[in-house]
């Protein structure tokens, strides 16, 4: 039934899937340094082999701000690589900044409250549209008349996501102006301390964890405006570097939640939406759920799991292994660039 709907609906995106992916491969990374995106690492880390391939033999910096208070709990990373690891302290140093300059945290909390209100409204809209999309998708098997309304629903979902992102960005920019990180001494000192820690590093490792917290700290520090290093990011860390960050867990007990657009990412690459821990968080055998997810997204959906790796070399060439994508039928397929 679901496959029937997917077939009738036709291509996933305005341009063909292949075209979209070719663009994704060609125009990345925006960041002119090697960029490696990996699936989760904690259980079976492959960081050392990635460092070797990138010819990195010196110290590496680690951003583990997503682990919050556990930022320093990085022994497993140190054990996984043969080079010295310097923790950036992006989270801990921000805590010091908040103590020193409480106005920053007050403003961030105020911003959080406004974003929360907005999110609640967006949840209502998205939930409603996804319910409609599911129902129309099912009806399409027996009622051809459901096709146009279903296409319109997907269009609405994409429009809602766009408007929501715009509204979030407006709020973030407004508070950014109020915090004025470029001039505020406490933030400048924070950035200086972080950059000082990373000054001898040959590459930057970015761990996952709480992606919202990670993005907040990366933004506050403006890290990528001030360093140009090869980057190796995994799981939530990889997610944070794309254009958009979506939260998802279709297996979470007690709550039925739709995939939720969170905010703009760091935009170090564009043209594809990453879903780390896909096997644990997405219903990969449910073509209806995958179909709805992929048709809502503006870019092709790439799924990352434990052994997944995507690496752009300095000259922009992309190599990928164990990465899957969601095709037009709501199925997952191995992806080769």
């Amino acid at each position: 039934m679901a496959s029937h709907a997917a077939t009738v609906l036709g291509p996933l995106h305005p341009v063909s899937y292949n075209e979209a992916m070719t663009k994704f491969c060609e125009r990345n990374p925006k960041f002119h340094q090697p960029l490696v995106l990996l699936g989760q690492q904690r259980d079976v880390p492959r960081l050392q082999s990635v460092l070797e391939r990138c010819n990195i033999s010196g110290p590496v910096g680690l951003v583990s701000a997503g682990w919050e208070e556990d930022e320093d709990d990085d022994q497993w990373v140190r054990d996984a690589v043969d080079v010295p690891v310097i923790n950036s302290q992006l989270y801990g140093l921000a805590d010091q900044l908040f103590q020193q300059d409480p106005q920053v945290i007050e403003l961030l909390r105020e911003r959080q409250d406004r974003l929360r209100e907005l999110r609640e409204i967006n949840e209502l809209q998205t939930e409603h549209l996804c319910t409609v999309a599911r129902e129309l998708w099912r009806r399409l098997a027996s009622h051809a008349g459901a096709l146009v309304p279903l296409q319109q629903t997907f269009e609405q979902l994409r429009t809602v996501d766009d408007s929501y992102l715009e509204a979030i960005t407006t709020i973030i920019v407004e508070y950014d102006q109020r915090i004025a990180p470029k001039e505020r001494p406490s933030v400048l000192e924070y950035r200086h301390k972080v950059l000082e820690r990373l000054q001898d590093c040959q590459a930057l490792l970015i761990a996952g964890g709480h992606v919202g917290v990670l993005l907040n700290r990366l933004n506050l520090c403006r890290l990528f405006q001030h360093i140009q290093l090869p980057i190796i990011a995994w799981s939530g860390g990889a997610m944070a570097l794309g254009e958009r960050v979506y939260f998802y867990d279709q297996f979470l007990p007690h709550t039925k939640r739709e995939v939720e657009l969170s905010r703009r990412g760091m935009c170090l690459f564009s043209g594809a939406q990453l879903f780390p821990r896909a096997s644990q968080r997405l219903q990969l055998h449910d073509s209806l759920e995958l179909g709805i997810l992929s048709r809502r997204m503006k870019s092709p959906c790439l799924l990352l799991d434990e052994h997944s790796e995507m690496a752009w070399s300095e000259n922009g060439q992309l190599h990928a292994a164990n990465v899957r994508y969601i095709n037009e039928l709501g199925e997952t397929k191995e992806w080769t660039p």
Binding site: R42, G66, W67, E69, V211, V213, G236, F247, P253
Partner: protein
Amino acid sequence: MTIPTPEELQRAIENGDAAIAGLLQQQRVPIVSDSRATFLYHGQADSVALQHWVYGLPSRLELQRVGKSRWWMLNMDLPRRSRIEYKLVVRRNGHEEWLLDPLNDRIAHDPFGGNSVVHMTGYDEPEWSLPQTGGHRGTFETWTMPSRSLQSDREIRVYLPPRYRPNRRHRLLLLHDGDDYVRYSRLAAVLDNLITRWEVPPLVVGLLNPHDRLIEYGADRRHAAFIVEELLPELEQRYPIIREPSGRCLGGASFGGVASLATAWYYPNTFDMLLLQSGSFAFTDIGRHTRGPVFDPVVKFMNRFRDSIGKPAKQFYLSCGVYESLIYENRSLVPLLQSAGFQVKFEEARDGHNWENWRDRLRNGLMWLFPVPAWFYYE
């Protein structure tokens, strides 16, 4: 892989040992196809029966001999997503022997030994309960304390979680039959996985083990006094745990569920959360119960509790297998708790009164009782 039908199995058996061996070579026995299961036994016997613990079915179902062969077979309906524990009862020369199914390597262990297990279509062992290679692991500490209330020394084991921080206050889960949870429900792997994935916060878990289980866990006030008046202060002195009811959960399975509920009822405002799995919550509305003398104090307590609920906790997570005789008692408790204004989560499974059923519900229970914003974490 094609799943053979009972008729194909029968034909293969009639065609000789090589034919049936060939057919079974790549099959898991019992053979499961959608909502039917075929149990097989091979050996000399006068009769063979399936002994199971599914409440509502005759507890023994006879396997039929296939022709004059040494093969015995039973094909039966079992609902999808069921997980059934069983033994084979083989009778020879007037003697009967209870066996693990020799053709089935799937075994669930419990304090009485173990049972063979059949997984029906749609049941999958939860991946979050499997021990992971690498990754973070909690540690255990064991110590002994004297108990005035129980008039004996008690050995306490404590699980300290991954990301345990002496300078942070942790939430506490106290579990009855704690060592059995570790041995038979893979508690350590479950906690390690859930905590590592940020699905539950880093909990300190106190593992309680009884000396005389049916007495101590049968709504015994001395046991409750031991927990609240002696053990909790000791734990608070030894570990950085939240010293408020909002940070404490008490739980257990079967009689451990009764002990949890009774302790929280005798000492209101001590635990905000209760984790009650297949609680032996026997009660009577009229007349005498028929569950035997060991249930006398339980029924007495449950009748009093049902009469006057009090405020044992704020949040109750209850689970029970639909194949348990206790399903009625557990279901009955839900509206009672809800009507008293408590938050209640009740979950049923197509399973019985056993440790793997309790294991399979731990993620939902702990995630509901100890919510963290897992949605935001991608580690």
